[in-house]
């Protein structure tokens, strides 16, 4: 029997540091909720807004697959492997932190805010050699269909990580429907609505709501509004 857990947008943890306003779908930093520790190996889903010219100074990470998806604005990335890049809406950034990586992420524009999703997935292997990658997606490839943006396979579409996880983005017209089929038996899917409204398994989802589904082979998504955007994150449940 299929299982589900609904996380309404307004039930997320909130941290407002002035320069950074963040909503946490799962326990993070000072936000601790023992009922919200992860969805399988999906450990962090932070919905971050950074003020103009501000950002995260150089800091370390290890043993985590970190995926950033900019939603608005430009984010300047620098890291200890010598990468200096800018990621913008339409890009996906990935870091395998492994034995240790140092990086900074700054809003490149002084006047505009930057909004991005910061997603952490537990790796299936500890202490890998750190790596960084970013890609630019074609938004036309996800109109009324799902566009794969992440997988475990370096030769497959999107970026890759050290985990049996698949992420997809989709932008749908009102009343458009689609079906997602689980890639690996036993995995679950965490659906996160970026914009508009969706109906999944008869559960109504609004902007920034999250729905976790597991013990199922496939499910249907139905857009309830025009230009509705969704992120589907398939991950192992343990």
């Amino acid at each position: 029997m299929a299982n589900s857990v609904l996380h309404k947008a307004n039930s997320r943890g909130e941290a407002n540091h002035g320069w950074l306003h963040s909503f946490h779908s799962f326990s993070f930093a000072d936000y601790y909720n023992k009922e919200r520790m992860s969805f399988g190996v999906l450990r962090v889903l932070n919905d971050d807004t950074v003020k103009g010219g501000m950002g995260f100074g150089t800091h370390p990470h290890d043993n985590m697959e970190i995926i950033s998806i900019p939603l608005e604005g430009d984010l300047e990335h620098k890291d200890s492997m010598g990468n200096v890049t800018v990621i913008k809406n339409g890009d996906v950034q990935v870091m395998s932190a492994g034995t240790g990586i140092y990086h900074s992420e700054y809003n490149k524009n002084k006047q505009e805010t930057v909004k991005f999703l910061q997603i952490w997935v537990f790796p299936n292997k500890r202490n890998v050699t750190p790596r960084y990658d970013q890609i630019t997606l074609n938004p036309a490839d996800r109109t009324n269909k799902l566009q794969q943006i992440l997988s475990p396979d370096k030769d497959d579409a999107g970026v890759w990580i050290y985990q049996d996880a698949w992420f997809h983005l989709g932008t749908y017209d009102k009343n458009a429907k689609d079906t997602y089929t689980i890639k690996k038996a036993g995995n679950g899917v965490y659906a996160f609505v970026l914009k508009g409204e969706f109906l999944i398994n008869n559960i109504q989802l609004e902007q920034r709501d999250g729905l976790g589904l597991w013990n199922l082979d496939s499910f249907e998504i139905a857009a309830q509004t025009d230009h509705a955007e969704i992120l589907l994150m398939e991950v192992p449940m343990k």
């Binding site: 450990r43 034995t99 240790g100």
Partner: protein, 102 residues
């Protein structure tokens, strides 16, 4: 309340130092760290930590050996495999094994 003695082991000195500083900010935790896996048994025998945090950079074999030896020395020791390298998950990891609020 008695202080909980925490030992952090990892090969990345900057991350170990950061974790010692961050963990030390929580109440009732007395924290030390080392990057020397050859000295860890001696440190454990002398200090008898209540909790061991395994940070990054150790081989799988080292992690396993440290885990097994620590549990032999101190059967009640709490062992955390830390992920993330900083403050993001640290509080959750600590809180999940402690029976008091930090």
């Amino acid at each position: 309340m008695e202080q909980v003695k925490v030992l952090i082991i990892g090969k990345n000195i900057e991350i170990v130092q950061l974790l010692v500083r961050l963990t030390g900010k929580f109440k009732n935790l007395l924290v030390s760290g080392t990057t020397d896996e050859t000295a860890i048994l001696q440190i454990q025998e002398e200090n008898a930590p209540d909790m061991l945090i395994i940070s990054s950079g150790l081989t799988e074999q080292s992690e396993k050996a440290i885990d097994e030896q620590s549990r032999l020395l101190q059967p009640n020791i709490k062992i955390i495999y830390h992920y993330g390298g900083g403050s993001g998950l640290l509080k959750g990891e600590l809180q999940s094994v402690l029976d008091f609020e930090i």
